[in-house]
Amino acid sequence: MESFDFPFFIEVLVGGLLSGIMYSLVAIGFVLIYKTSGVLNFAQGALLLFAALTFVSLLERGVPFWITFAVTLAIMAVIGILIERTVLRPLVNKPPITLFVATLGLAYVLEGGAQLLWGTQVHGLDLGIDDVPYVVGGVFISTFDLFAAAVAASIVLLLTIVFRYTRIGLAFRAVADDQFAALAIGLKLPVIWAAVWIAAGFVALVAGLLWGARLGVQFSLSLVVLKALPVLVLGGFDSILGAIVGGLLIGASEKLAEVYLGPFFGGGIESWFAYVFALAILLIRPSGLFGQRLVERT
C-alpha cells in the first residue's frame, strides 16, 4: 500500500465540502416551501433553470448586471405568485402525492417554457470571479468555490435573520408550525405562500447563477434537484440547518468516495453514491438528521 497522501486527502475533503454547499443552496429552496406548505417541490430545479436562463439571456442582450438581476428577480416573483394562484391554491388539502405530482407537471411546464422562450443552446455565464486556486499549506482551494460558499453562507444568514426578527418571518414560522392555528389568528395563508414562493425563486436565482457559472446554463441545470434530494432526505425536509449539514456531508462523502472507492467500482459512482449514503444514515435516523419527528396518529 502506498503511503497515504494527507494533503491530497484534505484537498479532496475541502473541495467536497465546498461543492456540498452548492447542493445545500438548492436544497434550501425545497425546505422553504416544504416547511410552509408541506409540498415537496420538484420544480425547484426547473425554477433554477428558468432563473439562470432568463438572467443569461438578458445579460447577453447587453443589460447591465444589477438591472438584469433585479428584472430576473421580479420575473421569478411573478412566477412564484402565479404558481401559488394557479397550481397550489386549487390543490389545497389534497394528499401530498397529488401535490408532488403537480410540481412534477410544473417542472415540465417551466423547463419547456424556459427553453421555448430563450432557446436550447448552452450559454456560458461569467460572474467575473477568476478561478485562481488559493494555496493554503500545500492544499489547493478553488476561489470560485470559496465565493460560492460565501454567497451560500450569506443567504442562510439572511434567511435566518428574516425568520427570526421580522413579522413575515414570524408568520412563516407560525404557518410552518400549525396551519390551522395560523389561519385562526388571522394570518393570510395565500399571502404567506406567495411570499415563500418568491423567496424560493430568489434562492433558485442565486443557486442558478452559481451552478450556471460552473456548468454552463443549459437544460441539465434542472437536474441539480437530483443532487439536492439526498441532501434533503439526509438533513430532513423541514430543516434549513439540516440542508446545510446534509449538503456538507453529502458533498464531502461523495468526493471522497469518488476518489478513494470509485476505482474499485470502475468510477462514475457519483450518480448514486449520495442516495445510498443518505439511505444508510436514514436507516439509523428515519426522519433525517434534523427533521421533525412525526408523532403517528390519525
Binding site: V87, I97, A102, P230
Partner: protein, 347 residues
C-alpha cells in the same frame, strides 16, 4: 402520505345490475377479436405496443403506490431489470422457452424490488419516495457500467430476441403483449380483492391500526414491493421485446419512472382500469399533439420548438387534471356511468 386515504371506487354492481366482470370481459374480447379487424401496423407498433407495456407497468406501480401506499420513483429501474434479465436468460440458458425467461426475469425484478423496498420498513412518505431514486440511479449505472449485462456490445444497445412461434410481425407481437397483460392484470385484479389486497389497503390507510388488527405490516410492505416489481419487470420485458425490440438502459430513465407515476395519478390511484385509462392518455396525447402541431404550424416551427411545447402541454395537462379530477379518469368514468344510469328510465 400514510394517512392519505383514497376512497375505493364503488363496484359497478353495487349501483346497477351489470355484473362487475362483464365490462372487463367485453374489453378483452374486443382487444382479441375486434382490434385486429381494423388495426394498421402503425396502430400496433406505435400506439398499442407502448400502451400495453406502460399499462402493465402502471398496474404494477398501482399495487405498490395505489393499494399499499408506498410511493416509488424507481419504476423504470425495475422495468430495466426485467428487460435485461429476460435478455440474459434468453441468451445464456440454452433452450429455455421465452415464457420461462420472462417469468424468471420477473422474479429477478421482484428480488431487486424487495432489496430496494427494505428502506420502506423504516422510511415513510417522501423520504421513501426519494430513497427509491437510489434504485433508479444504481440500476442504470450498473447496466451501463458492466457490459456483461449487454453481452459486451460496444454501443450498449442490443437487439431483443424475436418472440418466435406465431408472435411475429406487428399483429403477433400485439397478441403476445396482450396475453401477458391480460394474465397479469387478471391476477392483480383478483389479488387486491383477497386478504393480501386488504392488508395492502390497511397498511396504506393506517399503519398503526393495521398493526393492531394483526396485519403483518413489514411482511405486507415487502410483499407489495415484490409483486409490484414482478409486474413492472415483466412490463419492462414487453417494452423492450415487443415495443422497442432493442434493450438499452437509456429507455428506462427517470422520465419513464415519472411517466408511470403520471399514468396512475391521472388514471386514478388504487384502480386497475385507471392504469389503462391513464396509459391511453399518456401514450396518445403526445402523438396527437405532434400531429396537431405539424398540422397547424407545418414546417414553421422546428422539432425543438415542438418538443418544448409538448413538454409544456403535458405538464400543464397534468396540473389541470389534478385540479379538475383529483381521483383520476377512473372516478370520472364512474361518475359518468352513475349519471347515465340515473337518467335512464329503466332504472
Amino acid at each position: 402520505m400514510t394517512t392519505a386515504s383514497i376512497p375505493l371506487p364503488r363496484p359497478v354492481s353495487a349501483i346497477g345490475r351489470v355484473p362487475t366482470w362483464l365490462l372487463p370481459l367485453a374489453v378483452i374480447v374486443f382487444a382479441y377479436a375486434g382490434i385486429p379487424l381494423f388495426a394498421s401496423d402503425y396502430l400496433y407498433d406505435a400506439i398499442l405496443a407502448p400502451f400495453l407495456a406502460l399499462s402493465l407497468a402502471a398496474v404494477g406501480l398501482n399495487i405498490l403506490t395505489g393499494y399499499a401506499g408506498q410511493v416509488s420513483l424507481g419504476s423504470a429501474a425495475f422495468m430495466a431489470v426485467g428487460a435485461y434479465a429476460a435478455y440474459n436468460f434468453n441468451l445464456r440458458v440454452e433452450g429455455l422457452p421465452l415464457l420461462a425467461s420472462i417469468v424468471f426475469a420477473g422474479l429477478i425484478a421482484s428480488a431487486v424490488g424487495v432489496v430496494f423496498g427494505l428502506p420502506s420498513l423504516r422510511l415513510k412518505g417522501f423520504y421513501l419516495a426519494v430513497s427509491t431514486l437510489a434504485a433508479q440511479f444504481f440500476v442504470q449505472w450498473t447496466l451501463t457500467k458492466f457490459s456483461w449485462f449487454s453481452n459486451y456490445n460496444p454501443s450498449g444497445v442490443i437487439d431483443a430476441p424475436a418472440l418466435g412461434y406465431v408472435f411475429e410481425g406487428p399483429h403477433g407481437r400485439y397478441l403476445f403483449s396482450l396475453s401477458v397483460v391480460v394474465a397479469l392484470t387478471v391476477f392483480a385484479a383478483r389479488l387486491v380483492k383477497t386478504q393480501t389486497g386488504r392488508n395492502f389497503i390497511a397498511v396504506r390507510d393506517n399503519e398503526t391500526a393495521a398493526k393492531i388488527s394483526g396485519v403483518p405490516v413489514l411482511h405486507t410492505k415487502l410483499l407489495a414491493f415484490a409483486i409490484s416489481s414482478f409486474i413492472i419487470g415483466v412490463a419492462g420485458v414487453l417494452w423492450a421485446f415487443a415495443y422497442l425490440r432493442t434493450v438499452e438502459p437509456h429507455g428506462f430513465n427517470l422520465d419513464r419512472s415519472f411517466q408511470i407515476l403520471f399514468i396512475i395519478i391521472i388514471g386514478g390511484l388504487a384502480t386497475i382500469r385507471g392504469a389503462f385509462l391513464g396509459a391511453a392518455l399518456i401514450v396518445v396525447l403526445p402523438l396527437v399533439l405532434s400531429r396537431a402541431g405539424t398540422f397547424l404550424f407545418g414546417s414553421y416551427f422546428d422539432s425543438g420548438v415542438l418538443d418544448m411545447s409538448q413538454r409544456i402541454l403535458v405538464g400543464a395537462l397534468i396540473i389541470v387534471f389534478l385540479i379538475a379530477e383529483p381521483d383520476g379518469l377512473a372516478a370520472l368514468g364512474n361518475r359518468i356511468a352513475r349519471r347515465l344510469r340515473l337518467r335512464s328510465p329503466t332504472n
